[in-house]
């Protein structure tokens, strides 16, 4: 297993998926605006999709199932982005800010 044949191994793709997931979690924890957190959550979903596609290519009996699953993840991600961004726009209109620390109305 050398660097040039690394794309023929399942582990490579699982590592890429885990790395995308890790970057997403890091962004989700450190971001201070809603849009930044939304971007990080897209990274997480992308890592999950890479995992599904890797298992689909190497292990699954029927290679169509994983692709359909990834297609559904993409559709859900698009719906989530649309809803999330409209909420961001609505919040900006009433608070004049999308910083997570300015929205403390529910704090006791």
């Amino acid at each position: 297993m050398t660097l040039l044949t690394i794309h023929q191994h399942l582990t490579t793709y699982l590592a890429i998926g885990a790395m995308l997931f890790g970057f997403g979690v890091y962004g989700l924890l450190t971001r201070r605006t809603f849009i930044g957190m939304l971007i990080a959550s897209e990274l997480i979903l992308c890592g999950v999709s890479v995992n599904f596609m890797a298992f689909n290519r190497f292990l699954a009996p029927d290679p169509a199932v994983g692709q359909i699953f990834t297609l559904f993840i993409m559709a859900i991600a698009a719906a989530e982005a649309a809803i999330g961004l409209s909420i961001v726009v609505a919040i900006y209109r009433s608070f004049k800010s999308v910083d997570t620390e300015d929205l403390v109305n529910l704090k006791g």
Partner: protein, 182 residues
């Protein structure tokens, strides 16, 4: 054709196999670079640009996973739709990260990095240690197979996803429109 021979011999960098491996490494580098920019850039506009780069890299990785269709879909849906929508939201809401006045959350410092690194390390370790078991293939995974499966086996989920998308779009319009007249 002997499969184990073709997999485990090291190709020359100028042969076709070597170039394929090189392109894969470039795609992985693009993905990691984009993900790094997307999760650490200080300005949100740069983070979105990083997200676009990362998604293009992932589309290339999908190509290596025998799925040019998903590669196209990745570019169409993520780069063409989701990232453009996020850019529009940035233009509407101008979410610049301001200077940190309040003490930072305990998770947003090195602890957040440790958590992310632990997740990455543990999952990669699991992937390396597990003996993955392969099953005999029963289909080719072509676009034709995907279409047939979407209209027969997975037709219920397909309908549900259509309804979810419709409701999400209507809901997005309703939420974003609220309070517009004031």
């Amino acid at each position: 054709m002997d499969v184990s021979q073709t997999i485990y011999q090291t190709p020359s960098i100028l042969s076709a196999d070597g170039l394929v491996g090189l392109v894969f490494l470039v795609m992985v580098a693009v993905t990691i670079l984009g993900a790094y920019v997307a999760s650490t850039a200080e300005r949100v506009v740069r983070a979105v640009s990083g997200l676009v780069i990362c998604f293009v890299g992932v589309a290339g990785i999908y190509y290596f996973l025998n799925s040019p269709f998903m590669s196209m879909m990745q570019i169409l849906i993520y780069v063409g739709a989701v990232c453009v929508t996020i850019s529009f939201a940035i233009m509407l809401a101008a979410p610049e990260e301001k200077k940190k006045t309040t003490p930072a959350n305990i998770l947003s410092g090195p602890l957040g990095f440790i958590v992310a690194a632990l997740i990455f390390g543990c999952m990669t370790g699991l992937a390396l240690k597990t003996e993955w078991q392969s099953y005999p293939k029963s289909g080719s995974g072509s676009v034709r197979d995907i279409g047939i499966s979407l209209l027969t086996t997975n037709s219920m989920v397909f309908e549900l996803i259509s309804i979810i998308l419709l409701i999400a779009i209507i809901g997005a319009v309703v939420i974003a429109r609220d309070g517009r007249s004031s």
